[in-house]
Symmetry: D2
Subunit: 474 residues, 4 copies
């Protein structure tokens, strides 16, 4: 499946067009990711490079990423969209070791933004996916490769300047050079504690960061990847401006982040199920435990610590890992972009259904979902069954906003008798199944469930829905 040869778009536009014919969103993601890092094979990348070390991919092909984003598109966005200083866009500079932000209040229009640029400031556009459909499309596809939100920022830097101080981030970064060129230096994490760090660093002085392990000039079409924790800085050479987009993922997506869900839940279960966790503490433990007693030689300390250890060691037995993964999954689904539908998906889903107003009346109302209708979920990752104790809910991304967390995660309760059918649907992906094949008790149930999922935009049909044979209702 991960055969980069299958999809050989001469350009991003062509590639994205080809991808609309790939039925499995995970395969689409894999192909698009392969394009991003080509010629590095994805498999090798994930086993040898990802989370381990930086890699520089020069291409000598300035058009490789063409169509993804451009300064012309940037100018259009400033003109047509409500871009706010400090919210969507930052004006920055790094001169003589001093990093500054220059955002005025209010809307960022070309008149002022380009004036800042001309005076040597860098411009960072946050979350361009909210303004640019191609970036939205690319990121919404890639997030299924990562199983985690894919984000982006765009950086425009005038010739001969630098906009940011050296620092490291808390995300895996793919620096995609779009226009011009930029000189990049990448440095090793400074200590074991800063390998794959939980939080981004402050700005560093040049004296704090040692020598670069990578010192390259990216030109349009080139790629630079580095894991979180690797310090980096980029500056423009005197002869060219630079425009790049940084695609990022894996923020707060570590085993520890998952354990923050697993462990308190495990302790809750253990306290319910195992009386050893409910027994009282020793009457006198405060007299030999605690920081003020930590230097005491007291055999009770060892016994106490050993009891704590043995209880902690029992915890995995009570860990509700799947439920904790669902808690994490709900956060991931909330973070994710809504899918960009292909024309065919649009024609076969609620968003593009034929039902419409025309000639003074409504047309194609009451279209029929029948037992023969073939359905599938619209993306592998667009919906998920999540159980929180009693009720089972289906969470879904199709009503998410392009603006990060602008909407709450949408979900609705699934009746117990429908959970098997929803699970069947999700596991059948990417195959279409007939409504008839849903494991529900009755035909009415099957159709009701299919209609519900269709109306929420979670499923689409193999063929556009047809309206029933006309027997004039009015």
């Amino acid at each position: 499946v991960e055969d980069g040869d299958k999809v050989t778009g001469e350009s991003l536009d062509a590639l994205l067009a080809e991808l609309t014919r790939v039925n499995n969103s995970r395969e689409r993601a894999s192909l698009l990711f392969q394009w991003l890092i080509r010629p590095v094979p994805a498999k090798a990348f994930f086993s040898e490079t990802w989370e381990k070390k930086p890699v520089f991919v020069p291409r000598k092909n300035p058009d490789y990423y063409k169509g993804l984003f451009s300064t012309a598109e940037f100018d259009r966005i400033l003109r047509e969209e409500n871009v706010q200083y400090g919210v969507n866009l930052d004006i920055t500079s790094y001169v003589n070791g001093k990093r500054e932000t220059h955002n005025p209040p209010g809307r960022a229009l070309p008149f002022t933004v380009w004036d800042f640029y001309e005076s040597g400031c860098s411009v960072r556009l946050l979350n361009p996916q909210a303004f640019c459909s191609t970036v939205w499309n690319v990121l919404s596809i890639l997030q299924e490769q990562f199983g985690s939100m894919a984000g982006a920022n765009v950086y425009l830097t005038p010739p001969g300047t630098q906009g940011f101080a050296p620092h490291y981030d808390d995300i895996e970064a793919f620096v995609v050079q779009l226009e011009g060129k930029k000189h990049w230096r990448v440095y090793n994490p400074r200590s074991e504690e800063e390998v794959l760090p939980v939080l981004s660093s402050p700005n560093f002085d040049q004296a704090e960061i040692g020598k670069p392990i990578l010192d390259v000039v990216l030109e349009a079409g080139d790629l630079l990847y580095f894991p979180r924790g690797f310090i980096h800085q980029g500056n423009c050479l005197p002869d060219a401006h630079s425009l790049h987009i940084t695609i990022s993922s894996y923020q707060k997506n570590s085993w520890g982040d998952l354990l923050q869900k697993v462990i308190p839940a495990a302790l809750g279960v253990a306290m319910e199920e195992d009386v050893a966790f409910r027994r009282g503490l020793p009457l006198d433990y405060l007299t030999y435990m605690g920081v003020q007693n930590s230097d005491k030689e007291d055999p009770r300390r060892a016994k106490f610590l050993s009891r704590i250890e043995s209880l902690m060691k029992k915890l995995p037995n009570y860990a509700p890992v799947d439920a904790a993964v669902d808690q994490k999954a709900k956060e991931v689904l909330h973070d994710c972009l809504p899918p960009v539908l292909t024309p065919n998906e649009l024609a076969t889903s609620v968003q593009g259904a034929a039902t419409r107003w025309a000639d003074g009346t409504v047309k194609d109302v009451g279209v029929l979902i029948t037992t023969k209708t073939q359905i599938k979920i619209i993306r592998a990752m667009c919906a998920r069954l999540c159980s929180d104790g009693d009720a089972v809910h289906i969470c879904y991304t199709t009503d998410n906003s392009r603006v990060y967390h602008k909407e709450e995660l949408q979900s609705f309760e699934i009746q117990t008798e429908h959970t098997d059918a929803v699970e069947f649907l999700i596991h059948s992906y990417p195959k279409f199944v007939t409504v008839e094949s849903l494991p529900c008790d009755s035909v009415q149930d099957k159709i009701a469930l299919a209609e519900l999922l269709f109306e929420k935009g979670i499923i689409h049909t193999a063929e556009p829905l047809k309206s029933p044979p006309t027997v004039h209702s009015h």
Copy 2:
């Protein structure tokens, strides 16, 4: 100025095009309002009808309001915009005297909306100005006629149905019939207390409202106006659906609403300036005043009441009316729609300034505002000086959102030495004035103020700004 003949657009589109050539936004407002109520003369309307009684304007011209809104536009909005049930759109019915709302959660797509419609429900689209540019344009012009926000809702009703129970509203209503026809009945306020009421009514039973004073059928191109407090109900005849837009204004815009700002401020000033307000109450007033003593015959009561009355009668002397009007004005400016710029306004304002990215670099940066540049505020009502004690601020509507109160009212402080110049600019409207003519202390001040107002979108120039003669900066 209110000469309806000057502007005789064959259609709304033509009228709006002609209005772009009217330099004064108040005049534009007046002409557009005249078109709305034609052939009733505006002057007569405001002296005889406004806030007094309903009026029906039949036209026998189904295309009169063409272009303002249509069900086809409605269908487009549902398809392309994120319309949410319960937030932007309501599904309602009124059957056998029972009024119901049927909103499901989530996005309102044609697939479900038209299904509700087909089953006999009415559809109300709230604030169509957020989705439809023509409605936005019309309302943003009309608000300068009313000196108060102009709002709108759209109502689509299937043949043979009624969507709402009889009720009265708290706004002046212009019912503009766009498609089909609708049977309307209007009733007098039920009592003196319900004349020009402060709040809307609940739904009434048919038995509570008496006999209609107006019983008409609106056809496309007709208009019906009624003041707040007049009960009304509309239903579709069996043979036609109805689409109308209700344009509204004057919500909470009464003398009493202004007095709610004036009077507490007046008391504050009185307590500062007049010791009579600071003197202590009588030692024993609690023994003869209050509800439990209201039936007492005690000469001290009369004396106490007379003292209260005399203090209240002194209050007008301390009333800071202009400051209170400014408080009210700030609310009005916050309520208002941002202006829709004409092509010429766009070319001469910050929003459409020539500064841009082209051919790998920025163009027309640092355009010159000089002492000779001619400027004016972009709308009569787009900006206002407001003083709250020490500082003077300029409040402005150009950064408002099309979505009601989505943004805070924008404002910034004006240095004392610039207030005269801003006042001069505002009072010069609709005339252009040179930057030189601004009453500031220095040329630098004049240009700095003009640049600031230009960057905020408050002023535009008589001619598009030109970039300075090129002496390469980098």
Copy 3:
């Protein structure tokens, strides 16, 4: 009634004992206040001095106020009560024109308080009524003289020091010298605006306050009164410490404070009843009103201002003065101290009812209130009927705390059929009336109401209640 000769207590203790035999709490208040300012006649004081000018009452009788408070009592309080620095007590100094506060955190015990004192700091005990029963008793009596809360602070100053900078307060102040002596200087308000001011002043420099109009030395037994707004400062002479208590009243108790309740209510009524207040503002008022137009010569301004004035002049017609007084009264009742019951009041009220546990069982339970029982409210000001729209409530002070606002004001709803009876009871004060005489519909109602009021501590009976003739219940 205000005959100081009737009550001639040789000491405060004797006076308070005599006052327990005065049946009317207002008369008690009047007699105690007369004692406070003797030999100035109260009537003359309130007509010539109160809120007008300071007065110094020297007495050459160091024991005149004996028993009210003492430093020995202060020492007891520090020892036995939980006095907290910064909450109940402040340590201050004023040296070389610099005013400082030296409160450490935590409880104020004699060990540290007297150390501060010995090093030259002044000590202020806030609200001594919470700790000292005599002060509580005196203030709870005096508040009925003022019809407003009476408060107090105690000040102890070491010889040769001053604890506070010159300033003025927002209350009428009675400085009662208890021990030692203190040099006081009082200055006129600095301007008309500072006569009877709404708020206390900041600390003044000596240069800001002019020359004193009163320069005296208070010795134990002397009194100094000055109205709010009169600047004052006191310092100890080298040869003696000073202890004084300042009794205060009339904070926020001016006509203006009452008008803050009256006027918004009046506008609310006017908007409901008078359509003139509901009519819309002129379409164009924003173009000629407001600060930016205040210099305009426009005949519409005069017309607008005249309309505002005429509406304001109508407001007194709609002013619900009694209801507003009740709003103010509720605040006063909430501020007030609960009454200190005399032994006789205790024996005849719920607080001291004979019902008790003795010898392994309850005694005197189910005591009888009959139609013949004679009742009266326990203080003139302890309860009040207040109406807020629909329901009528009785508010009462008997559950207030000695600590200011520690409890919410207590109240309960009075059924409509009982309001006349409560009003009758309140107006009958200080006479006892029989339960039979209450204007209720039935005997049951009369007794139920009397029982309710008795249980809340609002009324007491002429004789201690007797238990019913014993027919053993168990």
Copy 4:
């Protein structure tokens, strides 16, 4: 130490007097606890009964607990203290299987409380330690036996009635019969999950609870103990009322409660120190983990679960147990009652220091703490060093309130150079040590620390402090 013979008070009063001569508060606690459960030996009790099973201790000595509490004391409290229905006192009944609460609003005076009692209601007084000094003293001593807050409620029940439905509690309960007698039935936990439960149960029906394992009549002087989770109910026989006090402890004091502090802290440390916790989750884990995949046979599931388990098993290595115990200890100290000082403790601590006002001046100010002064902390459990990251604080109970959580836990920062000295002091308990012996850098430091701890009431001295030789300061 746990020798009940050493202390053989004929009565509680005598015992408490004897305990004032025991220098170690832990020994006091042990002796008082032994008295509580005599003749059961404490050691045997804690090894065989505590948290395991109920025990009934009949004594045939109605005066055994005399002086602890009585209905006469109850009556006094109602009369003299502000006891509020619903806050401090509940009126309850259990008739025909129906449990009801009858609290009116407001203050609970004997007049109404005894009326409820006479009509067959039970009366529960919550936290009598806030009103009764003996209960406060007893509980404040016992809490050092439990290393956890000791609480209490008092229950008064009329003859022939029952006040509560069968239920179990979340605390270890010592039912101390004070007057009359009561019939008690105790039942086993209904299931393994209800053994030592985390939360109290709802009220049970008689049918839900099985057969009692204990069915006894407590008479005055008897004791009944049962662990949390044991269902119980008590009712009065027709011939006698009952008064008992339930002394409780060990609420939320289990190993699991401590682990709730340990485990999140351990995960935090692990994420900082061990990169294995910071590595990213597998790209595809959402496709095989989570409830919707829990039935999947996928080898990746086992691998994933095994990784979770191995990480969890590493957690004990990172568990900051002492710091977590300190977090728990801070809660315990906040829960605890302040100590009741003995006369000797009072005379040698800040609370009873000789510093005072007498004869018009302050006496014994500036008493000397010298290097020779002998000091000790006033209770074993009254203070504790707690470290939260950077700073070390001392937390202490001496400023706690008798009312549960009325005050925040008091604490102050200890300078690093003083922590050893504080630890030395705490560990020296119950021995006095000289100020000189404190391990501080300088004599000034030693004295400054001692003064600070003395002023906070944390330490007392072997002898009452003496004032310095008088050299008149003023």
